[in-house]
């Protein structure tokens, strides 16, 4: 399994990191979608396990969560899904989910099982560094990297503290708000990335609201190590629910398009 540090230092451009809700719209289609994204040039995958109450997510990802849950997705099946992906290609995977799913599964067992399945890092959407003590030790014991968020309203002192607890990458949120496609990129991003790069050596990836190739390029130019694209990609699934072929071709085309501009 390749570590993030290795990957980010090998790449001479920003890594392209698409986000998918595991099992959206159903297990088999989701598997083909993620494989297609890998074939189209994804460098890292950010995968979410659906939750009934995703408070950090906007309507696009909420709907994807509901589709996946209705189709029977749960933590156990997500584990199988990740194993199948890793068999297809040994690509770094960041897991993104809400704390209750980990807590119910059993924190230590969750980290051990998902690490064994090939996950590199875990980002808990509803956990800040303040309550993180209950997961840091078991995550490290399992060999998982930690990922925490930094937002435009995070103070400098706190950024340093977050960086010190992060072993994977800092997930930099580009806007004040929840996930969702946005027409224009927040002009705060460049400054935020620049500031982080001065504060820490931990890789910095940017997400939330990145929906066009030119947004990705701008973020990469600002010095980000990776660009995370979520709602835009999920919306391509939502727009083509009547045809799996159309989903696959739309995802493939979009990822290739962004990738060609990142190089």
């Amino acid at each position: 399994m390749k570590a993030y540090k290795e990957l980010f230092s090998e790449l001479d451009r920003a890594a392209l990191i698409p986000f998918f809700v595991i099992g959206d719209p159903d297990y088999d289609t989701s598997l083909d979608i993620v494989k297609t994204a890998i074939d189209a040039g994804a460098d890292v995958l950010e995968l979410g396990i659906p939750f009934s109450d995703p408070i950090a997510d906007g309507p696009t990802i909420q709907k994807a969560d509901i589709r996946a849950l209705k189709a029977g997705m749960n933590v156990h099946r997500a584990l199988e899904f990740i194993k199948e992906i890793k068999q297809y290609k040994d690509i770094p995977i960041g897991l993104l989910l809400y704390y209750n799913l980990i807590y119910q599964y059993g924190t230590e067992k969750f980290f051990a099982d998902f690490h064994a399945a090939g996950v590199n890092s875990i980002l808990i959407a509803d956990m800040s560094i303040d309550d993180a003590d209950e997961v840091l030790a078991p995550a490290q014991a399992a060999g998982l990297d930690t990922v925490f968020m930094v937002t435009p309203n995070t103070e400098d002192q706190r950024m340093k503290l977050i960086a010190s607890k992060t072993t994977g990458f800092i997930y930099t949120v580009s806007v004040l708000g929840v996930t969702g496609s946005r027409e224009s990129l927040s002009d705060e991003v460049e400054g935020l990335v620049g500031k982080l790069k001065k504060l820490t050596d931990v890789p910095v990836c940017v997400g939330f609201g990145i929906s066009k190739p030119e947004h990705a390029v701008a973020v990469a130019k600002a010095g980000a190590d990776g660009v995370i694209i979520g709602s835009k990609i999920v919306s391509l699934i939502e727009a083509n629910l009547d045809s799996k072929e159309n989903i696959l071709s739309a995802i493939s085309q979009f990822i290739k398009d962004v990738k060609s501009k990142l190089i």
Partner: protein, 392 residues
Amino acid sequence: MRQKGRFGQYGGFYVPEVLIPALEELEAAFYDHYQDEKFVKELNWFYKHYAGRPTPLYLAKRFSEQVGFNVYLKREDLVHGGAHKLNNTLGQALLAKYMGKSKIIAETGAGQHGLATAMVGALFGMETKIFMGVIDIERQSVNVHKMKLCGAKVISVEGGTGTLKDAINDALRYWTANVTDTFYIFGSTCGPHPYPTVVKHFQSVIGTEAKQQCAEQIGKLPDMIVACVGGGSNALGIFTGFIDDKNVKLIGVEAGGEGVSTGKHAATIVAGKVGILHGAKSYLLQDENGQVLETESVSAGLDYSAVGPEHCQLKDSGRAQYYEAEDEDVLDAFELLSKKEGILPALESSHALAWVMKQKGKLSSDANVIVNLSGRGDKDVSIVEKYRPLMQ
């Protein structure tokens, strides 16, 4: 944050990073002001002249005759707006004013907290948005109209099942994007720290008054305090006054819906497992994979899958006991208090009354029981009419 916001293992602030600065700001403002002389004086002025406090402690003689012991009602139903909710919204809105926030938002289920927020929004001239599930908007159309009359904008939440849980989700999302100028007035002793502490503090006026009234009217402490528990704010509000008096039994009554064994209920402490929702660790109604379950109850105000973290600690320590009351018994209680006392209790508060009715024959005739009558039942008449149509 200055504090961890823990009640034993419960509570905390499990929120996305973006909300941390807002919670820190709220926590700082609360601890700076809640004991500040000027703030306290101003809040007490509004409690007296706007909300109509203190509320009476009333010995319900004819209801007592039915159950065979003394039942006193703490009349929060007489608070302006018809429920205890205003105690909290006045406190938080005043805090918002001291913090210089010009906009307030709130979630609501039955509409009582939404209405109490809309009222203080009008009172303080603040732009007010109320998040309410689309199903609840249908069920509580009169309250929706009242909120609008008070100048609030009611935002229909369609995600999930369109009830309180989803309204909280959307209010939190909105706050995430508008933290700089918006104050989120949370309605119960739930959610991330510091809300469980803030809401309890502003509701503790119920217990403080009740204790003094007991001394005046009974000449001693009561034997038992009974209150309904959804998120748990009215219960903690009255419990707090008696928490150190170990001989006073504290009883919380949850919504048993159609019965805990049917799965159609909201009895979180009675039937839930520890989990994390809306920023706090608490008992939680959830499936085996950790997905949060929907709740069902005749009273929309108790329809919540989680519960205040302090109640979870009180349960574990044994200081308070928690039971459930089923819909049919709740309707019986609603009818009995109306018939014997001419007081229509809210269906939420009727849960506490229903539990008290079940104690008939179990308590001695000189026992003194206080029921927190957290709200009035006018809002529920159409619901009761559906379940129990009156004969001509």
